[in-house]
């Protein structure tokens, strides 16, 4: 059942893995896209702004240039007409002819230069106006030349005429043309301005759109991120729960293992002791009886003796096995005598002399406690005798208000308690932990070992334990 659900979990997990990977790719792409949108938007906005700025600058410069040219022309026209008028009407003339000529020549050159420099915008109306201005200027120049060529008396006579006929209308025409061009220029400038404004508006629109797009993408992304994070959180929580559960399972399993092991041992021990041992005992007695009945037959006596010694050896083996599996002393005598027996048993087999001190240990300890303490002592003494080659060990059993304290110390070679964790030690820890107690091992190389166990005296005795114990008894 567990295995099946695990497999299903596995498949589901794979699918989820897949969708998570997809989501991750989407997120990365999304972030990339968002970044790209921002970059493009910023870049285009900057560039367009630059362009607009440049165009505006250019238009302004052109406008100013044109204005300047027109002003020059205006100025030239005014000053030229004034001078010519003065020249023609004043008598005698203020300026001598050559000075006047150079002055007016200079004025024409300025006007022509201004018109030549006038930027060509390709507008036919402007061009025709300019052409007209040029031709007017040429006419005026021609007239001026003719005025210059006049002898002073003609000048006196025809001067007024020339002024009225040629000079004033020409000036009017020229000024009129300049005004028209200026108006055109202004109009054009206004047009350019409005174009720029339109472009700017367009840009603003585009930037707004880009921003909106970015915002939308950002919202989408944060939504996806939220989903992703939620999913990760959920996964983490599930993992944690799974781990916690498997840890719990493990603990329960190991507790069950200890219980089951103990139950199994007890059953085996009982079987060995009660069935095998007793039958062998009966057999031994039969052999003895047979021997006394057949006391006259020497050969048979020897064979019976042999049978007897074999049976005796077997009985001893079976008894030792049975005791190793389950120390019946615990049931027959109680904890303290059983621990004392264990100590003597160890000293019979090894160099280790064990001293047991017990105070105030109640006889009615639960079986769990008895077996736990007994096994811990057994393990510690065995380690002391076998691995640490200790000569003396001291077992102390004490009972305080809420604790049973057990300590086993030896004078053996010790070990590095931080690093070494054999199966035996793990078994001890497991047994103690199950009863809610603590196990402490103090040992250093060359300094002996002290194992200390503290067991709380009130521990919930769970149904599970009781069941296992019952199956063991049955």
């Amino acid at each position: 059942m567990d295995a099946v659900s695990e497999v299903r979990d596995g498949l589901g997990g794979e699918m989820k893995d897949h969708s998570t990977r997809l989501l991750r790719v989407l997120l990365i792409a999304g972030f990339g896209g968002l970044l790209a949108i921002m970059l493009i938007a910023g870049f285009t906005a900057l560039r367009t702004l630059g362009e607009l700025h440049r165009a505006e600058e250019e238009a302004r410069r052109e406008y100013l240039k044109k204005n300047q040219a027109l002003n020059t022309v205006n100025l030239v026209v005014h000053s030229y007409t004034d001078q010519v008028e003065q020249y023609l009407l004043d008598n005698p003339p203020v300026a001598t002819a050559p000075t006047f000529e150079t002055q007016v020549d200079q004025l024409f050159r300025d006007a022509n230069a201004a018109l030549v420099q006038y930027p060509d915008s390709g507008d036919p109306m402007e061009l025709s106006l300019l052409a007209e201005m040029k031709s007017q200027l040429r006419d005026q120049e021609k007239m001026f030349r003719s005025v210059l060529a006049m002898p002073p008396q003609d000048r006196q006579r025809q001067g007024r005429n020339a002024v009225n006929r040629d000079l004033i209308p020409g000036r009017l025409q020229l000024l009129n043309a300049t005004q028209q061009v200026a108006a055109l220029n202004r109009q054009k400038q206004e047009q350019t301005d409005s174009q720029l404004f339109a472009k700017f508006g367009h840009l603003r629109m585009r930037v707004t759109w880009m921003l909106l797009l970015g915002l939308a993408a950002g919202l989408l992304l944060s939504l996806m991120c939220g989903i992703y994070i939620l999913r990760l959180e959920r996964q983490a929580r599930r993992r944690y729960e799974e781990i916690a559960k498997s840890q719990q399972d493990l603990e329960r399993l190991s507790a069950r293992l200890v219980d089951a092991q103990e139950a199994e041992r007890r059953a085996l021990s009982r079987e060995l002791h009660d069935e095998v041992g007793q039958s062998l005992g009966a057999l031994l007695m039969d052999v003895s009886r047979l021997k006394s009945r057949l006391s006259q037959n020497e050969n048979l006596q020897d064979e019976l003796d042999h049978m007897r010694s074999v049976a005796e050896k077997t009985v001893a083996t079976v008894r030792n096995m049975s005791l190793l599996l389950r120390p019946s002393m615990l049931d027959d005598l109680g904890l303290v005598p059983a621990v004392e027996w264990q100590g003597r048993e160890i000293s019979r087999r090894s160099q280790l002399e064990v001293d047991v001190q017990a105070s105030d240990i109640p006889d009615d300890l639960p079986d769990d406690y008895k077996i736990c303490i007994y096994r811990v002592v057994q393990e510690a003494l065995n380690n002391a005798a076998r691995h640490a080659s200790a000569h003396h060990a001291r077992v102390e059993l004490r009972r305080s208000q809420r604790l049973i304290e057990v300590s086993i110390s030896d004078d053996g070679s010790g070990f590095d308690a931080e690093r070494v964790r054999g199966m035996g030690l793990l078994g001890m820890e497991e047994r103690v932990r199950r009863l809610g107690g603590t196990l402490l091992i103090e040992s250093k190389l060359g300094q002996g070992t002290k194992v200390r166990v503290q067991l709380p005296t009130s521990v919930p005795y769970t149904q599970e334990h009781a069941e296992i114990a019952n199956t063991a008894r049955g």
């Binding site: 002791h273 009660d274 041992g277 007793q278 039958s279 005992g281 009966a282 031994l284 007695m285 039969d286 003895s288 009886r289 006394s292 005796e312 009985v315 001893a316 008894r319 019946s328 002393m329 049931d331 027959d332 005598l333 005598p337 059983a338 004392e340 027996w341 003597r344 048993e345 000293s347 019979r348 002399e353 000569h391």
Partner: protein, 216 residues
């Protein structure tokens, strides 16, 4: 001569059968009853009034030691022979404290049982040689390894005499009569020797005597 009446208590039928055969080979002995467990043993001991009860130490319901304690209370005329798989002093001492007079290993029951039954019927103690051997070995080894002097050497000849007699089950009065001493003197000697040997009770004294091979 009246036959010795014996009650057999062992939870194993095979074993019981063997023991019964063994005992009834002797013309002076008769098995008057059998019990499957400790509780039955206590009941039959009070109803059958046997001279000797042979008790297996490991029995269901009520183990041999508990049963022994109850039998010595309710049927003081019956002497108890304890049968056990264990030669360890923890068992021997518990059996003695419960009032058993003899302690036999099951493996050697067939050679020792008859002797043990006869000994307890005469008010003496009996221990399987194997038990005495184990007790002595444990004792000697402990003395050697801990480097302690054998306190037995501290006893006077008179105290050793009294130790043996008490261990054999004699009362202070019997001892006084045997040695031509006053009861008071015997009590003093006894207290002294128990203090020297660091013994606190008669069962411990008996165990000590067995251990030293003073009685068997």
């Amino acid at each position: 001569m009246r036959k010795l009446r014996i009650l057999l208590a062992d939870d194993h039928k095979l074993m019981r059968g063997g023991l019964r055969l063994l005992l009834e080979q002797q013309p002076t002995l008769t098995v008057v009853g059998e019990a499957d467990d400790g509780r039955q043993a206590v009941e039959k001991a009070s109803s059958l009034k046997p001279d000797v009860v042979v008790l297996d130490i490991g029995m269901p319901n009520l183990n041999g030691i508990e049963a022994c304690a109850q039998i010595t209370q309710t049927s003081p005329t019956a002497s108890v022979v304890m049968l056990s798989m264990h030669s360890d002093e923890a068992y021997v001492l518990r059996a003695l404290k419960a009032g058993a007079r003899a302690y036999l290993l099951k493996d050697s029951a067939e050679s020792d049982l008859v002797r043990a039954v006869q000994a307890v019927s005469e008010g003496k103690s009996y221990f399987s040689p194997a038990v005495s051997k184990v007790l002595l070995e444990d004792y000697v080894r402990k003395l050697q390894r801990s480097g302690v002097e054998d306190s037995f050497d501290l006893l006077t000849p008179r105290e050793r005499e009294i130790l043996q007699l008490v261990a054999e089950g004699k009362s202070n009065k019997d001892v006084a009569n045997l040695l031509n001493l006053s009861v008071y003197t015997v009590e003093t000697h006894r207290a002294n020797l128990m203090q020297k040997l660091n013994l606190r009770s008669v069962p411990e004294l008996i165990l000590y005597a067995v251990r030293k091979g003073i009685i068997s």
